[in-house]
Amino acid sequence: MSTATRTAPARTDRPAPGAAPVAVRHVLSRIGRYVFLCAVLGFFALPLLWLATAPFDETPTITASLPRFTLDNFRALLDNPYALSSLLNSVYLAAGTAVLVVTFAALAAYALSRVRVPGRDALLYGLLLLSSIVTGTATMVPLFELAFRLNLIDSRLGVILILSGGLLPAAIFILKDFMDATPTSYEESARVFGASPLQIMRHIVVPVVRPGLATVGVWAVANVWGNFLVPFLLLRGPEKAPAAVIMYTLYTEGGQADLRLLSTFSLLYSLPVALMFVFVSSRYGFRFHGGIKR
């Protein structure tokens, strides 16, 4: 082995060559980062401004402005016989769907992650593609007829099942990444102690991937919460209608928005999901894994 001939880099003996500009650049990049983050904050907060002011304004207009403060709008909304109950209906549908989606997706994702199924990625992606058709308008007749044949018209269960079917592929897709990222030594360790697969699932896997379950749960809830078409087509009376459907009724005969009710209802309609998100993210963490492996 020989010592390589080496061209010694020109050595400068200035005390700190380029130190000042570098420091400046460093500061500039820091400032740049803050400016960027503030711009992002502004961009994401600005549209929400209206939601924060209009409900408290006596005469809400389309412009977000300092409100002439009043709570009358809330009182007016309370007079609407369906407003509050529709929120409860939404909770019912969202919770039902989320539980179903999270449970079934967790089981399926776990099985897919741990047992080699040939062509599972293709299968998952195929289902994902199909799920995108099913959320489209063109499927409403098949969905309706299906529900009719299964006697699921005017049944919340029907809505929950149909929504779950649509959400499951993506949920499995997301959860599988979480499962893949979980070290198997936890499970093996439990297995040596004699735990059955279901026990392992319950005691180890579920708690370990809880942030993933929480994420998928929130995602499912948000999806159901905003879904109009399926509950509208399948449910009959407004007693069962979720907030997404009732939101559409807050228009006048000619289709004009009643801004007072609409803004107030929008706020009430948004609050549960926002609160749920805050709760879930502080309690279970809210994050993603991901990346298609191999």
């Binding site: 412009t63 997706a105 399926a108 499927t139 499951l168 592929p169 893949d180 998100f277 993210s281 492996k293």
Partner: protein, 313 residues
């Protein structure tokens, strides 16, 4: 314990047995695994595959919701498809949709999401929580509410944006309808990309970035040489999902209703108009199926570009 400069699976002497390597750690066995799969798959089969197949069938009929064709739908073969492909409106709608996907998903959501995740990568504390909170809020709020917020923001006369910028009368939704819904959808969906990339960036070992820095690499070079190759899989997942979702996103309808003059009529809106307003369910179903095929093509393009580069690591 020593602060790990790289995630465990990176270490040469693997500390954690990573994924997939040892399948079936819990001793599921095929039978039980099948049992785990069944409930989900039954639901999917019944409420996803069946209606989807049905829809595909409708695509070859002239079925309508009302009128004579509702009473006696006829199989018309590929007529709907030839009609769609020769339809000027379909084609322009397709072009708009591709613009929409490219602009709001690939550039907007993925780009902004990555930028936010990158800017927040080593930051903890209130600023991060605040930014993430707002970004996520835009993601989970119901679309009907969100649409309203954006109409309020962009309105020509009373819009908050014009009021802030001091340019009343700028008709964003009319003069720049595509831009508006692209920005809107970026706002709406960035959260997903941000979270995915935040997770991805945690997988980029600090030592790799620092090696590049020591070699004198700037931010851009670090991104190109270290970060991107490392998060390729995440980029793929992200692009696949958000492109698919954006391609099928109906929310812009609530803001521009496809207008003015169909200048923001992306395919889901087109399908809505064809199927619901026009009642032509057969034709609408055919377009839906064409959309699925286009999604498939997009997915394959992504997979080709980003996936399948094996690293025997």
């Amino acid at each position: 314990m020593a602060p790990v400069t790289s995630p465990p699976d990176q270490a040469v002497k693997g500390r954690r047995r990573a994924t997939g390597a040892a399948p079936d750690a819990a001793g599921l066995g095929r039978a039980r695994a099948t049992g785990f799969l069944v409930p989900g798959m039954v639901l999917i089969l019944l409420f996803l595959v069946v209606p989807a197949a049905w829809t595909i069938y409708l695509g070859v009929t002239n079925y309508r919701l009302t009128g004579l064709a509702a009473a006696n739908p006829e199989v018309v073969g590929l007529d709907n498809y030839t009609r769609a492909l020769t339809d000027e409106r379909f084609r322009s709608s397709l072009v708009l949709t591709l613009q929409f996907v490219l602009g709001s998903a690939v550039i907007g959501q993925a780009g902004l999401g990555f930028a936010i995740a990158y800017a927040l990568r080593d930051r903890r504390g209130p600023l991060r929580r605040l930014v993430e909170g707002f970004v996520l809020l835009s993601w989970i709020l119901p679309s009907s509410v969100v649409a309203f917020l954006w109409i309020a923001l962009l309105d020509r006369d009373g819009g908050t944006l014009n009021a802030l910028l001091g340019i009343p009368g700028t008709a964003w939704l009319l003069d720049h309808p595509m831009l508006s819904i692209i920005v809107f959808n970026t706002w709406r969906g960035t959260a997903f990309s941000m979270m995915l990339y935040a997770a991805a960036l945690e997988n980029v070992p600090r030592s790799h970035l620092e090696t590049a820095r020591l070699a004198g690499a700037g931010t851009w070079q670090q991104l190109r040489d270290v970060v991107f190759p490392r998060i390729r899989g995440h980029v793929l997942t992200n692009l696949l999902l958000i492109s698919l979702w954006t391609f099928n996103d109906f929310a812009p309808f609530l803001i521009t209703a496809g207008g003015p003059e169909q200048r923001s009529e992306i395919l889901p809106v087109y399908v809505y108009k064809v199927a619901l307003s026009g009642g032509e369910l057969g034709f609408g179903a055919a377009i839906s199926f064409v959309m699925l095929l286009i999604n498939l093509v997009i997915a394959l393009v992504y997979l080709r570009m980003l996936g399948r580069r094996k690293e025997t690591a």
